[in-house]
């Protein structure tokens, strides 16, 4: 009889090995399909376009989920209204653009407005419940119910898209295989990189970031050292909500805005941070890439007739990561 401890370790190793094997097989399968080794003719342009779709979707997921993970990392608040903030931000951006406000100004204004909404939410409802994480989650759920229901009569139930700024609403041509690709999606990719780098720099190399990291590790000690932790929490919530609003405008331009997207972006944020590890920026990046690429590639490269099972692959991703590392890939205890 093998002792339980060793048995658990073996099971753990086995799960890790299996996950790696599945990953390798999946990548090999996609490449084999793309270059025509199996399943008929090669279609490299399709592969490039689908991969780009995956990357740009991942960029959007990253922008939204980084706000979610920032709030969670510092405050242990699971903001279940994050998806609602995303959608509301998108609708505010839409209204502004419809009123002939410059696109980039509308983007900034909508993001700031959502930041303020988040700040008010935190100050009015969450601040006096600190430490009761379940109650805080329930409060944000209730807020998201009210927000979602109020957005339908205000902004309509039909799907609407925000018009991309002039010059970016067409497609660019690569010198490769005669591929044309929507310019705006590439802009979102660039913005995501910019946001990621600024967040990383802000957290790792500024005094405020240092305070945030200290607050994550030991809030009581940070407070005892004379830092106004309440102000730090408020700013963090503001920035986290702002990122949701920013994502909403970009997503509304890249995809569309419709009731129900609050749920789907809440889900994607959840999956991204569960896979990547709660509160970790690198984890959010990795989780977003995994989710975006799996979602797009599986829609095309699963065997014919099974493509509508692609959502189950997202679940499989979650299962594998949690089996190997219950705290997520970059999570810390």
């Amino acid at each position: 009889m093998i002792p339980r401890r060793i048995r658990a370790e073996l099971a753990h190793r086995f799960a890790g090995g299996l996950a790696l094997l599945v990953l390798v097989v999946a990548v090999a399968w996609v490449l084999a399909r793309a270059f025509g080794v199996v399943g008929g003719t090669a279609n490299v342009p399709l592969f490039i376009v689908v991969t780009l779709n995956g990357l740009t979707l991942a960029a959007l997921y990253f922008i939204v989920a980084s706000g979610f993970t920032l709030i969670f990392g510092l405050m242990r608040v699971v903001n279940m209204a994050h998806g609602s903030l995303y959608l509301l931000g998108g609708y505010i951006g839409l209204r502004l653009v419809e009123h002939r406000v410059n696109y980039w100004l509308a983007l900034v204004l909508a993001a700031l407005a959502i930041g303020v909404v988040g700040l008010v939410m935190q100050q009015v409802f969450l601040r006096w419940n600190q430490g009761q994480d379940l109650r805080q989650a329930l409060i944000t759920i209730a807020i998201s119910v009210v927000l979602a229901d109020q957005m339908i009569p205000t902004f309509g139930a039909a799907a609407v898209a925000i018009k991309a700024p002039d010059g970016l609403n067409s497609a660019v041509r690569f010198g490769l295989y005669d591929i044309r690709y929507p310019t705006f999606r590439l802009v979102v990719l660039g913005l995501a990189v910019l946001i990621g780098v600024s967040l990383w720099y802000g957290i790792q190399h500024t005094r405020f970031g240092m305070i945030i990291r200290a607050g994550v590790d030991d809030r009581a000690m940070t407070s005892a050292l004379g830092v106004n932790v309440q102000a730090v929490l408020a700013v963090t919530f503001f920035v986290g909500a702002l990122l949701a609003g920013l994502g909403g405008v970009l997503g509304g331009t890249m995809i569309a805005l419709a009731p129900g997207q609050d749920a789907s972006f809440l889900l994607s944020s959840l999956v991204v941070v569960i896979v990547g590890g709660m509160g970790s920026l690198a984890g959010a990046l990795f989780g977003a890439l995994a989710l975006g690429l799996v979602a797009q590639l599986s829609g095309v490269y699963l065997p014919a007739g099974y493509t509508n099972f692609s959502i189950l692959l997202t679940f499989a991703l979650l299962v594998f990561v949690l089996a190997v590392r219950p705290i997520g890939l970059f999570g810390r205890r």
Binding site: V78, L138, V145, P153, V271, M278, N308
Partner: protein
């Protein structure tokens, strides 16, 4: 004198509860068909589903958002077997409950190493993924769902005469209530409560905490599955809209309004929810806003819900009666 005052209050309480139970027992005879069906059957069925949330929270300390998805699994399995394969309704129901428990073992195995807020998030992810699964896979009718499910002859036709359906749901509710009460006093139940209060100590004592959590999750799924089977028989159809995020949160709302700590809260919350749902359209178009505000008010002011308020009211009266003569 002191004793008689308190004990007469206890008597009044017993009589009141007995009176309520008699009314509950006679709903099809006392009220209109519409009321017995729309309020009666629906709140019993939703109450069963919400009871699975409250069971998991009260006994094991896990708040699950996957219960709506799990009753969806049961409802879809029942509908698929009965409509597409022509299986007998009772057999279909039995298989559906089994399938749901198996799915729950999978979800539970994934989520059981997490606790608290992480558990909530992982079960939410499972729930939304289940929703997308049923809304995309054509074998389950994708967006249309499955229509034309007929309940067993014993339960009659819910909209013509809800009597059979009502007693079916009432008997199920009572059995589930008794099952949970019994379960709490078994060694398994005590182990679960140990996990709720001191999971690290339980692990140190040699209990397999993830396994216990998974097992509890399967019991919760069993309860939710019964709700799902009754739901699909009552509605005669099932579609993805019945298990989407809004419905998931509606069920959580019911459990929270009723009181996450006491099982009877499930049916109280369901009754209040159903009454608001049925009668609010006369006054407002925005039912979800109304229910969201009620939810917010309960979470902010009384985390124990209606059952909690009733409990503290009872204690307050007893203290006052005892104190006045002392």
């Amino acid at each position: 004198m002191k004793l008689t005052r308190v004990s007469s209050w206890l008597l009044v309480k017993r009589v009141a509860i007995a009176g309520i139970l008699v009314v509950v027992l006679l709903v099809p005879q006392l009220f209109s068909t519409f009321f017995a069906s729309s309020i009666g059957v629906q709140s019993l069925v939703l109450g069963i589903a919400a009871a699975s949330i409250i069971f998991l929270n009260a006994v094991v300390g896990m708040v699950s958002l996957a219960q709506t998805a799990l009753y969806g699994v049961a409802a879809y399995t029942t509908a698929k077997l009965a409509v597409d394969l022509g299986v007998d309704p009772w057999l279909a129901a039995l298989v559906a409950v089994g399938v749901t428990v198996v799915v729950a073992l999978l979800f539970g195995a994934v989520a059981s190493r997490s606790e608290g807020i992480y558990f909530l998030m992982i079960t939410l992810a499972s729930a939304v993924i289940t929703y997308y699964f049923f809304s995309q896979v054509t074998a389950f009718g994708s967006h249309e769902g499955i229509n034309g499910v007929t309940p067993p002859a014993l339960l009659g036709k819910p909209f013509v005469d809800p009597t059979g359906m009502y007693y079916g749901a009432l008997i199920s509710s009572v059995l589930i209530y008794l099952l949970v009460r019994y379960l709490r006093r078994t060694p398994f139940g005590y182990a679960l409560q140990g996990v709720r209060d001191e999971s690290i100590r339980m692990r140190a004592l040699g209990f397999n905490v993830p396994l216990l959590r998974t097992a509890a999750f399967a019991v919760g799924a069993f309860i939710a599955a019964i709700g799902g089977v009754l739901l699909v028989w009552y509605n005669s159809s099932i579609s993805p809209g019945t298990i989407d995020l809004t419905r998931t949160i509606d069920l959580l709302t019911i459990a929270v309004i009723g009181g996450l700590g006491r099982l009877e809260g499930a049916w109280l919350g369901a009754l209040l929810f159903t009454v608001i749902q049925t009668y609010s359209p006369r006054y407002t178009d925005r039912f979800e806003t109304l229910i969201g505000l009620v939810f917010l008010a309960v979470v902010l002011t009384s985390p124990g819900g209606i059952a909690g308020i009733a409990g503290s009211l009872d204690r307050w009266v007893q203290r006052r009666l005892a104190g006045r003569t002392a």
